[in-house]
Amino acid sequence: MLSAAASTIPMLRLATQLRPRLPSARYHWLRPLSSATHVTPPAAAGAGSLEPPDLPRLAKAARISLSPQEAEEFEPKIRQVVDWFGQLQAVDLESIEPSLRAGTAAGSSLREDKPETFVNTDAIVEAIPSYDDPYIKVPRVLNKE
């Protein structure tokens, strides 16, 4: 649910701020937007330069009801997590090759297109909260997405 925090922090915009990667240039690819001009000294990219989380919006996106009081309680906790990332932005990555994903598995991680029928479908069906054989029953939804 808290992945929604990503959207409260306008870092998506970083995607458009591409600049050629010069081999010699210091490459700070982790940098808060507010200081995204040129090569920023790590010190400037400290905690607090990230936008604080918008709790009501996060809760709404995650379909979680929070009372205003609960939202108030959670806010500092989540802000603390966000701030950790502020700290991470200060890490010196000059000699690190950027990667698409963490933990890139080398070699093939693909599966052959061979069917295997899952045998214990009964257990799956049992775990369905509301079942009307052979369909899963859900609240009436029409023409919405």
Partner: protein, 546 residues
């Protein structure tokens, strides 16, 4: 909580970190396909089609009264893999609901997705076929939204780095719609999974879900907003259908939902560079519905513009209603949906090698555009070309017939005429009949060398197509060899004339049209085997001999 947040935070990081890298490893277009495209363009600027194109364009402009429509299409193609995208569940259309499901496609905690290699292969094939740049490294992202047909609460898709992008597709508009060659841009092709199927009922107080389709692999193809009319959009869709069928990556069946088009339409005054407010149209089940839905929507929007009610055009999703031939509001868009994309942590990057791509490009079949240009160069008319290249089974049959030495135009006439009529009647595809390309070439040859008449040829065709066998066999069995012996024909002519003294009298009195009657009688007597040229020559001589 912290972990989830971390995943979320990774999004911008990966954007930033990889983009520089990726742009440099993007593969240049394969020379093989580039060549094809060039040859296609080279044949394009011919005088005749261009003027037709211009004329239709002018006619369209007059109808749209100073306005221009801008159309872009998102197409979802369901891949014909045996198993789903990220688990080994088999998928068969029409299976018992909720029978092909497992913890992975049901989104149970702890279940991990593993990508089906066939999905990557299909994506690369389609990417190459659409002249795209293939990303040597791409990744999956989670697109998050809540809906009952989506068990996990997110769809595994590709967001910022699709497997293929920046391509184009060439096509020829049907002759009956004015013809003309078009080239439309492809923005991107990406891999994703399908959601389940929701069934709504008017009577029930709840909806029903079948999750058999959840996790089935899709390729989403996003076009550039390059189309201007309903027919252009419909033909774009039809060309994608041909391509996926030629490649064998999907059955492209719109009725089963294996090919779905969502169309975006906006209208702007001619000359304006900004786009108007776009409206999305869904629920079209055939290309002709796409054509009509778009043309309806364009005229609806132009009407609003002209009535000074352009502000009534709002960003929304409209549904095409086939019975009333209109589009209706389905829902208004409330701002942009916030899908909170972030990289799918359960799947590694998709890394391709140049060898892998070379291997696939070598295995690519001849695509519709290349076929059309090749057929066009044989001297066939555009109508013939479009018919033959429309269905790769037909095209393959045609090509094989030519390989056995048949003349292109004659083979085409047989396929488009008698064979197509038979297939249509019997609701069969050409490879479901007993007729082989070799026998069609034999048939054409037998007529050409005078062994049989064209009329007998048609009879033999019906025999071959329904029961199989060989041309020679049928000719022998039914004793159908054409009678080309002048003496034999003369004997038959003499007999017919002798049997019909009344008609002869009338003929000689000036009713020369009766030659047809005599010819028919002789043909009947010969059981259709008399050589018609010889027959008419001898008959004429006899009738006019005084």
């Amino acid at each position: 909580m912290a972990l989830t947040l971390l995943r979320g935070m990774r999004t911008p990081i990966s954007f930033r970190s990889n983009s520089g890298l990726l742009f440099t490893v993007l593969r240049p277009r394969l020379s093989r396909f580039t060549t094809r495209a060039e040859s296609a363009q080279a044949t394009e600027p011919k005088a005749a089609p261009k003027s037709i194109q211009l004329a239709t364009k002018e006619a369209a402009e007059q109808k749209t009264q100073g306005f221009e429509a801008v159309i872009g299409i998102e197409t979802h193609v369901q891949l014909s893999t045996v198993t789903k995208a990220f688990c080994s569940c088999p998928y068969n259309y029409g299976s018992q609901p909720n029978s092909t499901i497992c913890p992975t496609c049901m989104g149970h905690p702890g279940a991990l997705p593993v990508l089906n290699e066939k999905v990557v292969e299909c994506a690369v094939k389609l990417g190459l076929a659409l002249n795209c740049e293939i990303s040597m490294i791409s990744k999956f992202d989670r697109k998050q939204y809540f809906y009952p047909d989506l068990p996990k609460g997110y769809q595994i898709s590709q967001f910022d780095i699709p497997i293929a992008k920046k391509g184009y597709v060439n096509l020829d508009l049907p002759v009956e719609f004015g013809g003309g060659h078009r080239k439309f841009g492809i923005t991107r092709v990406h891999m994703e999974e399908d959601a389940g199927k929701l069934l709504h009922s008017e009577s029930r107080s709840y909806s029903q879900v079948d999750l058999n389709r959840a996790g089935v692999p899709l390729l989403e193809i996003v076009s550039e907003p390059d189309m201007r009319t309903g027919i252009e959009a419909a033909e774009y869709g039809a060309e994608l259908q041909r391509i996926v069928r030629y490649l064998g990556v999907s059955n492209g069946n719109m009725q089963e939902g294996s090919l779905r088009c969502d169309v975006n339409v906006s209208v702007r005054p001619v000359g304006q560079s900004e786009f108007g407010t776009k409206v999305e149209i869904k629920n079209m089940n055939s290309f002709s519905e796409i054509n009509r839905a778009i043309d309806y929507e364009i005229s609806r929007q132009i009407m609003l513009h002209k009535e000074g009610q352009a502000d009534q055009i709002v960003q929304e999703t409209r549904l095409w209603d086939e019975s009333s031939q209109k589009t209706f509001t389905m829902r208004k868009k409330e701002g942009l949906a916030d899908y909170r994309y972030f990289p799918e942590p359960d799947l590694p990057e998709v890394v391709l090698s140049t060898d892998y791509i070379d291997e696939i490009s070598k295995s690519m079949p001849e695509l519709p555009e290349a076929k059309r240009r090749r057929y066009e160069n044989m001297g066939l008319s555009m109508q013939d070309v479009l018919f033959l290249a429309n269905d790769d089974n037909v095209a393959h049959f045609f090509d094989s017939t030519l390989e056995h030495g048949a003349d292109a135009k004659l083979a085409c006439n047989w396929i488009m005429g008698d064979i197509a009529a038979y297939l249509k009647n019997e609701k069969l595809s050409i490879n479901e009949t007993k007729l082989t390309p070799l026998e069609l070439s034999e048939l054409i040859e037998s007529i050409k060398n005078g062994t049989i008449s064209g009329k007998i040829g048609k009879e033999i065709l019906v025999e071959l197509i329904a029961k199989g066998g060989t041309v020679k066999g049928v000719i022998e069995e039914k004793d159908l060899v054409q009678i080309a012996d002048p003496a034999a024909i003369e004997a038959m002519v003499d007999k017919v004339i002798a049997d019909n003294p009344k008609q002869l009298e009338q003929y000689r009195a000036g009713k020369t049209k009766l030659q047809g009657f005599f010819a028919g009688q002789v043909m009947k007597a010969s059981k259709g085997k008399a050589n018609p040229v010889l027959l008419n020559k001898i008959l004429g001589e006899k009738l006019n001999a005084n």
